[in-house]
Symmetry: D2
């Protein structure tokens, strides 16, 4: 184990949480149980085409319960939790698919708030971060393109931004842009130098909803439906924005996006871990109450094996998330590797847990109305693809692990340009 | 996540280690690399029938390097590390199969020291713990019996201890007793009330090596060969010991053994994690230097997948071990569950890591002389069986997880008597 | 391997198919490609609430193409294929989720035709089998009950049929009854002796759609939507049928249902194997055309691993299906075991193949409109539960394998009453 | 499914075996049970350094029992079975690790006989094949080289053969050459044109044991020990052979070796399947007789799951082997793909089956003396590496599956030169 001695003396490894975090987590759990879960039943957990009124109602309730915006800096009205604190609270929020929406810590807004806090100018923060943090508007992050553009491999980026007097002109096509429908602004990644296949030369732009030349062409029907406003396809056709709309540094957009992606992957893990815990709780409830072959379902060995494997998956996920949160919070060099490790493991573990819960619940598990499992089964699957498919992360993990061992081989790796 | 607010104020979750632990871990890593690994090559890592002189030589070197007995209370000459500290140091020691032997923290002695520290009288500690901690003697723990006796299910215990004037007479047969050959004393579990199938009524006894009626009948040839003195079969035939040889409380032997088993399982995990890390390092070395199909082995996707999966397994194992160590160190009620979760996950993860390393190294991976992988492959397999097979732990994990959900079902579980 | 010498001399093991079967399979493949797949796009493959007109149109087209009813005895207008022939043709039909519906060989009608052929009186065949085989009506099989009734464990059967003058009165509740909505008749399993938990005492009844006392209370929204008319909940409340409506023998309903279940499980496997092949073909198409990290997706090692694993799963599934079909066609004693083995393996293999295809296709894989993978992902999951969950089949497989080895253990197994 | 109509009319798919094959399989099973298994106990199944006398004794017994050389053409004294017949008989032989040796159908001799039958001149057959088939001598196949030579990637071949007056001079180093110690002759693959990295230019040579310049430098200690004479390292240093010692065509050695490799991989599968069946039988025996937690081990759900999964693995392996044997026997174009599919699946399935048997048997499973499982565990692991590691086969499977889908991508695959 890479040993990092604590600077401040003999403070041992420990997992206790700050009492204010503990209190917020308890309040969140109660809020989700009493307010969000009943609402979830109204819409079956599917909010890809829900009205803004639903979001507003849930967020008002969260504010009233004192659990709104746990991750937002206090300056912008939130609780200012670091990632370790978020790990505890987001898991509680994730117990319902709508919990993160209610707390204003759902994707993609949560990640965009983080990015703006790190990369935006003070002026940009007042214009974009303040209302976003307050739930007054929504946002989206437009990176992914349809083939042959940027997908798992960001270097294939084809959307371009070319200099025009006073600003930039953006042209290209994006898809699977979560939350685009109705978003107040879009953060767009566009190529400002180089060509498709080159690793650099990208820049991020803040584009207001009503900017001419940006057009939402369709909302894509997907397996998952629990992200507010769903996933859309957007066309940029001569969309001109001013110089002040550049977010971060010109030609350094990929590096800038990393600021968003590392923590955003981990907060995904936190929220989905809550969903996995929900599925396991339903499975345990079923296993404790359903009789089969002369005993409770949960006393049959094969069911016990599934239940145990899910407990193991949940505990391992949680331990990895906390470790990674600490690495990110403390700015450790190991954070990138741990972030990929956590994303890969947790995404797959969450899918296994939900799959086992479906199996244990049998017919009830595939019924879309009688239990939320069929919905969860649909929701968690894309998590193994979104924010970097598992294969891209595994490639990055192996490459980092190999670094000290490359002494015998000349030349560089064929595929060394991934941004994961 | 079960939230436990820290009593002492806002100390966040953290993974830094105490500087003295860090220093000891570094010294251990250096000692293993420079002293133990070369010795390992002498004997191929196989010490089931090695001479005591080898052990004495290694332990003397460890004392000279200042890394002897990291887990032993300072009172008895050790470094007094808690389990979190042990996690860091034992992983470093486990890098060589002989590392734990050198540091006097190998099974079964390490677990027996812990048991004696917790359960022995002051007199017993002076007689048995002191020399054991100093490496002056070795010990064994005689619990497992051949069928139809106590195996995964301890309630099947058939060895009996019956009261005789001034003490107890022990009769029965034990097998797979690690380290028995040449041990200075044996801790024996025997039935003092009830009969085979009953959950209670067991007592632990301290039996000196030369006690009449205790006889080692054979040393069992096994897949693994890295535990000093191997595994033996012992017969007790009218073996009489005095009253003062009772360890702990009469008829409460199973509860007493739990004191040993929880931490002993976790220290197993720590040591084996070091072995897994060793295997992965060998695989990375090979992947970085061997060319195939036009690139380094480690640039081929399927090899990258194996390397990445092993990194994930190692990180998840480490995170679980640290979490469990903290639970055990702080006396948490969650420690039993986490202990079973860690044992199950880490045992299987370590096997996967070694198996992948064998596969990556190909012919070299199955060669017993050219790399230590074939040896490691043999050594780690029994870890999924020793100290409770994975199935027994999964049963226990599921049963604990089910507890709050049993409201609808009357009666008790058929198989509720396991001591895991 | 259990060797069964051929009676008729040296005819070796062989996999060639009868030329008429080959011709029918080719015609089916062409029909599905040219007629069914375009229709599938109309409704997205979801026909749980499709109009009868869709079915009629597809079945007319199949009749015109000469591929209708491959499994139906020639006497009733079909092609009279045995299970080996069906294996080849049903896989071709399964290439589209609507293929089996078009050929009138979808569940549950196909299994019911088989059951009626084997168990019905001549009069019952004329009344029920003839129009069913011709596609003039549809049917359903009402066995499963909501908890605490018959699910994976059929002995929990609670629906009762009690003798009344001239016939039987049926009372109870069934759910997950596939195709019930609009079915011309229902085959109901009801208890005619014994009580819940008893292994025997069940009888099958033919109940016409308009029989008073049988009422469809709701159609259950489920993860899967490709079975025509979906899955419904039905209540029997004083539903009286005549003596001539008994199907098979009174009190021997479970044995009778076995006649249906063995082959029905295997034909499920055949159809789903076609779906898996479809998913793999889509993944291969994508892997051959999408570029990433400097090469075609299909030249990346981790993608190759997924593609290869799916080829392996498909070939192993096909080989098991053919072997099982032969065992069933020849009335072998090994057929029950092979049937459970195939159901378990193929159901899980098909799920793995579809899951990998989703992963390889990335965003496209989870898009519900741009490729059929998201639909397939939803459809195949319940196959691991329907017709006996994998766990029930594994229990039955192990129990049969254990039979010759039970000599040392007295008494019978706790859970020996399963009907799988 | 690719449909191949039978030429000779309506002969359906069938799995019955020729009565003479059935009889030979029964006789083999009896011979192994009564003669070979007792001998196995003498040496623990480890024959890597056994005396020739052991082999001679076993082969004499096999001749006496009428089961010697089932695969050898009748012309050379064998039973002349095709691969389908071999599948049945070799599985019976594989029940003991020494069974194939006794029947003279063990690796590498069995594959070499096949190669000689296909590629040798009549004169070479009389000189080399005749005594090999009769068990009068042994042989080896020298292909694999230590890094950086030919391993999984045969194109890295570095051993050279250069023309000298009247013949060829061979120089180079080979390792992991099974059976080299004491072999009467060696088939060597050497480069006769091109250089390391080139796909072609290899030639096979027949080298007699006493040829000057060929020297066995060591026998490698490996995880497996059941192949007679073990695996050795050989040096060729100015080893000169005559022109008549060329086997097959100059520069076409890789193509020639394919003749050996396809069937040799499949016969490996057959033999190892017998070993897996043996392991499963031991596990079933244990599961039926050992009590734990109040019932027979085999009545516990998690044990049932392992037993069932092993039955499934065995049946799927057998079905794949028979299908592939038929493809090879009939010279089908699909044979190469099926051969890779079977090798990959069966090698991994056999490992899973043995691993589960070890787990079920617990302490007994890792004991090297009390049951053959620890030995089997060591023996089956290298099977996933020998004769092409699983990764190389998966690469080849994916590449073949991709062929029809490469229309959109220009250029050839980076790694298209594998000979698997």
């Amino acid at each position: 184990m890479p040993v990092r001695p604590s600077a401040g003396g003999p403070v041992p490894i420990q997992f206790d949480v700050d009492p204010t975090v503990a209190q917020l987590a308890d309040a969140t759990a109660q809020f989700v149980r009493e307010v969000v879960v009943p609402t979830e039943r109204e819409c079956g957990g599917s909010v890809h085409d829900a009205p803004e009124a639903l979001r507003e109602r849930l967020q008002k309730a969260a504010r009233d319960a004192g659990v709104f915006a746990p991750h937002v800096p206090k300056r912008w009205g939130g609780h200012g939790l670091d990632l370790r604190g978020q790990a505890v609270v987001f898991e509680a929020a994730g117990h319902s698919l709508l919990g993160p929406l209610a707390l204003n810590c759902a994707a993609p807004d949560e990640g965009n708030m983080h990015l703006l806090e790190k990369a935006a100018t003070e002026e940009q923060k007042r214009t974009y971060l303040r209302p976003l943090a307050a739930g007054e508007t929504r946002s989206c992050f437009a990176m992914t393109e349809p083939a042959p553009g940027a997908g798992a491999d960001p270097r294939l980026l084809r959307t371009t931004a070319t200099r025009v007097p006073g600003g930039w002109r953006i042209d290209g096509r994006k898809w699977f842009i979560t939350g685009a429908q109705g978003a107040g602004f879009t953060i767009v990644m566009a190529r400002t130098s180089g060509g498709p296949g080159d690793p650099g030369g990208a820049t991020m732009f803040l584009v207001d909803a009503d900017t001419p030349g940006m057009r939402l062409v369709r909302t894509i029907e997907t397996l998952d439906e629990s992200l507010f406003a769903g996933h859309s396809e957007i066309v940029f056709d001569g969309c001109v924005v001013g110089e002040e709309q550049v977010l971060g540094t010109v030609d350094r957009g990929f590096e800038g996006a990393q600021v968003r992606l590392g923590p955003a992957r981990l907060t995904h893990c936190m929220r989905w871990l809550g969903a996995a815990r929900r599925a396991q709780d339903i499975a345990l409830e079923r296993a404790g109450s359903r009789m089969a072959f002369g005993s409770a379902l949960g006393d049959l060995g094969m069911v016990q094996q599934m239940l145990a494997d899910s407990e193991i998956d949940i505990e391992a996920s949680r331990a990895l998330i906390l470790r990674t949160a600490w690495e990110l919070d403390t700015g450790s060099a190991a954070a990138s590797q741990l972030s990929s490790v956590s994303k890969t493991f947790v995404a797959e573990a969450v899918n296994r847990v939900v799959d086992r819960a479906v199996q244990i619940c049998g017919a009830l598990g595939v019924s879309a109305a009688d239990a939320p499992l069929a919905r969860l089964f649909r929701e968690v699957r894309p998590f193994r693809i979104y924010d970097g498919p598992s294969e891209t992360h595994r490639f990055a993990i192996a490459r980092r692990a190999m670094r000290p061992y490359r002494h015998h081989v000349a030349g560089r790796s064929v595929a060394s340009g991934s941004s994961v």
